[in-house]
Symmetry: C2
Subunit: 296 residues, 2 copies
């Protein structure tokens, strides 16, 4: 295993038991807990939580303190998938190779499991702030994450996406604006919040914010490519959906080769922006290479 693969496995092995323990030990009705755990423990790369933990450690922070925030961001990501899959939204029957939450527990329970995960993410962050002495660094990190997932971030992205589907406004600016909010904001915030938990300086945070923004963009472009080239077994979710729904994607806008070229260019920019501030970090750099060639 490469050093990068080892790191990915390591972060996942720290995040998943903590996620499970946090939810299992809370005073939550059994059927709600079951629906929450079904989706939270369904796997996934845990990229957002790993980025937060990694950036915290990279700049000398205490990853024990940051762990609840990393778990919170994974809960938020899971809630967004549960609500996105609902019949009234994307109406998706599969997620991570398993029936989606509402297919197993019903629509009402899935709405509530999503609401509960979002709320529990906040509860987890507030508990971490209090347990660690009301520190400014954790409060700032939690506030940054909170803004990214909300009405001007992730939820806004979902709303703009719906608007685009209705109006078929096929511009790159529109597409970028949707994805910067819908998937990019949370990824960027995971990186920045990690830096904040380590009390990194302003210049570092700005450079890492740009790295996070570019990584989010790369992630979305490769997601659009995989919707065309990937297969359901490896991805664990339906493919060809964007094309069938007439949704605007990078592939639709630039063609498959054009999208691949754009991804390569963004990858170079992302690696540059950490190199430029003198941060030499294998993980953040390899994460870009990994994403560029990912098949899942």
């Amino acid at each position: 295993m490469s050093n990068f693969d080892e790191k990915i496995v390591e972060y996942k092995s720290v995040l998943e038991p903590k996620l499970q323990t946090l939810i299992e030990q809370a005073d939550i009705p059994e059927e709600l807990k079951e629906a929450m755990l079904y989706s939270v423990m369904a796997g996934g790369k845990r990229l957002r939580g790993s980025l937060l933990l990694h950036c915290c450690g990279l700049f000398g922070g205490n990853t024990e303190e940051a762990l609840p925030l990393a778990c919170a961001i994974e809960m938020v990501h899971t809630y967004s998938l549960i609500h996105d899959d609902l019949p009234a939204m994307d109406n998706d029957d599969f997620r991570r190779g398993k029936p989606s939450n509402h297919k197993v527990f019903g629509e009402a329970a899935a709405i509530l499991a999503g609401d509960a995960l979002l709320s529990f993410a906040f509860e987890t962050m507030m508990n971490a702030i209090i347990a660690n002495g009301y520190g400014k660094h954790l409060t700032d990190a939690a506030a940054y994450l909170t803004k990214a997932l909300g009405a001007s971030g992730m939820v806004a992205g979902q709303v703009l996406d719906m608007r685009q589907e209705k109006n078929a406004d096929e511009s790159e600016i529109m597409l970028k604006s949707i994805h910067e909010k819908k998937t990019g904001a949370i990824i960027e915030a995971s990186v920045v919040a990690g830096c904040m938990t380590a009390r990194a300086d302003k210049k570092t945070i700005e450079a890492l914010s740009e790295y996070g923004r570019l990584f989010g963009l790369l992630f979305q472009i490769t997601d659009d490519i995989l919707d065309v080239t990937g297969n359901i077994e490896e991805l664990g979710k339906s493919t060809g959906k964007d094309k069938n729904s007439g949704k605007l994607t990078y592939v639709k806008l630039f063609g498959l080769e054009g999208a691949r070229d754009l991804a390569a260019a963004v990858a170079v920019q992302a690696k540059d922006c950490i190199r430029n501030i003198g941060v030499s970090d294998g993980f953040l750099s390899e994460l870009i290479d990994f994403t560029l060639v990912r098949t899942f």
Copy 2:
């Protein structure tokens, strides 16, 4: 107008413009903002926010500092109503005398408006904590509210309510447990958070917590009574729903007169528990009397 009525009008007149400004001035896509404001500005008594502001002022706190938290709790209350009214949940077409959110904006937009309001409530609380110097008192109050609205509080109550409808478990213990979480937790937390923003002592917080718990119970009993005796014009929502859905209510369990007797007994207890710690406060006492005879 009585002193109590004046206070109710005063709190409402402080809360509503602030709620509107907070949402209007945020960087939120127009269609999302519209759906959020439609339900947030649909009126209502603003009891939760008023209780928070009142308890803050009563114990010498700075109500300017507490105002964003009071607005946050009104946003949370509104999100819970939007999601409760969804077709997959209670399937209610009317709320506060107007078509419910999903009837106007569609189901997907209503789910997202709810998600956005919940997220924006947290964002508002985090901003208040940071703007007021990371104070312990505001962080504690925000954490208390957060726990009350989540997976072990309000969302848990909604899940238990669904379980009861399936199993028809007609016990008073079950009914109390549902409502202590579903409506009671947020009301109690509004009172306690108000005390916390004023840095009230432990004994005061405990007594006010008990007052809040009993007020929440009284509110629910009178809600069940109004479902039988109220009319749609005054209430602004459908009546007779509980009976038609076979839902367990205090009226079903004790009969109309029995429920009225119980409400009267709870009212006495609630007033006692503030008198016992030497707090003589007209508003909190009159709120109990008002609730006992309310018709809306």
